[in-house]
Amino acid sequence: MTALKVIPQLLCWAVLVPVMSRSLTGMATAVTAAAGFVVGVAGENLLLAYVGGELPFRPLRGVCGVIFLLLWGASVWALYRRGSKGSDAEAVSSPGPLAAGLAASATGVLAGALTLCRLAPLDGGAVRLVPYLSLACAGAVLALAATFPARYLPERLAPRGIPLLALVVSALMVMACSVQRLDIFSPLSMEVMKFIHDFVHQFFESMLIPDHPFFRSDVWGYIGLLFSDKVGLWGGLALWYLPVLFIALALRLERLPSVAHIRQGAARRKLLASFIHERRLRLVAPLFALVLLTGAAYQSRFPATEYWDPKPVEVTATPAGQIVIPKKGEMDLEDGKLHKFSYSQGGRQARFFVMLTPAGQLVTTLDACAICQPEGYGQAGNAVICYYCKTLIPLETVGKPGGCNPVPVPCSVKGDAVVIDAMTLLNTWESTVQVTAHGKGMGK
């Protein structure tokens, strides 16, 4: 069953290796890539065994971010240099065997490491020996087997240089984005949202926008668009796709070799047509990269991991304005799981959850944080996840304020019940969550 989880990764890998080996140095590339994959898987396990802790999610995510930036740089360069001298996007078309080997093995190491992360249990702990050995074998066998289909890949479809880089990077992105803690798409869109948020805020602050009622109602409608929860997604998608689109554009705008020296019209047109056809074929690689990136973004938006996400239970307050929830009533509040409740009174509403932290303390927090849209939290192993920004918050820090942590609500334990003040709850919800809602243009 766990093996099924790595199928997308291994599929990407099985596509990547033939393309790389066709474009680089053939069999040697496949062998180095296979070796790299094994090293990636084994290295991560050795690290885990000797250094301890958990899998190196943060450094890996850093590396993924860096190679994505690299792709950005390369794409801008390709666009800048296009047509300055023949087919420049492919200027690095035939790297030496050393460079090709290095590239292949680096890709292999990263692919192996990323794929292993997918096998890591969500609540931490090491991957067991059998899965990790079989993964290493599968990666290596796939890479070596890939040299056979590679032979049938038409030469003209094998991307070189920057288009190849686009393909490799987007395949690695698919591998990374299916692992929650390696995903870089969600943080990217989050950053975009924050940036736009801050920018608009600062801009209006510095412009001292007059508080004229006419002006406000009209303009706030548009400003509201900038604060909507979709702006992060669209901005993120733009940053996500642009490098590959740039590369495609660079290829498309590439100047064709001159055919003016051919006197006969038909022969000249024939040659020109063949150049155009070839240029069109070269677009296949970036288009495929776009498909892969879409897959990565999709995995990041709709992660396959299943969360513990109970339906909020309606609660009411006592005449004294207290919400009393028994510790061992219909549900066991102290079972370490997140329990959601909702409370409404006179059109005001709040959602919150109660859970026992690993430190043994019962905490009550809003089912929302102070920064994101209130899409709520789910629980995955020893963390809760904000559905909006996909940030994982370790259980240890639940109940503490700040960042994307769920906003704490004071509560007290009286006997075998948790008691929350209904007014405080509603006020906390409105003073934190509704702030963002105002920005959305729905408030006021």
């Binding site: 006969q264 019209g265 038909a266 022969a267 047109r269 024939k270 020109l272």
Partner: protein, 224 residues
Amino acid sequence: MAAIIETSGLTRSYGDICALKPLDLCVPEGEWLTVMGHSGSGKSTLLNLLGGLDRPTGGSIQVRGTDLASLSEDGLARFRRDCVGIIFQQHHLIPYLTALENVMMSQYFHSVPDEAEARHALERVGLGHRLKNRPGELSGGEQQRVCIARAIINSPRLLLGDEPTGNLDHKSTTMVMELLRELRDEDRFSIVMVTHNQEVAAWGDRTIHMDDGCLVREERIKAC
């Protein structure tokens, strides 16, 4: 001189009807061959085979060293595109495109359209002033000249004509024939042309006569 067309035992039958009986024919590069014969004698059948529009039921047919019988459908299409130009009696121009666009259409199917070149081709056939007219606005002779421009635009080595002057009066026929001779002298392609008209046949280098699917007589008009 090398042969552009070589057939041996070439046959084509439709069911029981044998439209073309075993035919051995050799056309040297650059020759203008005229095919004559009664209606139903198999002239169009032969022309269609030479142009790769049809496949023989027997024998072999080689055009510029390529065995047409062995080509796939794609190969045949490529052959038609690159090697032959065809002119029909019914001109088969696209009625809603201008003369220029009709010629460019042929370029498009061959490789890429090139307006300047298409314009030049129409100028060569004396239609420089009718570029933007649709076929319906052109006379029969002019339409046939558009067809010639369309047939030669991709520099074919072989030009096939199935009664290209069948619909034309004496004056237009002479004009078209003169034009064809001029073009052939400049571009050095070979011509195989079917006609019923003795005068038209006189423009060629050699005439073959067919009857009931057989080559019955051959006469040389000009020394090669």
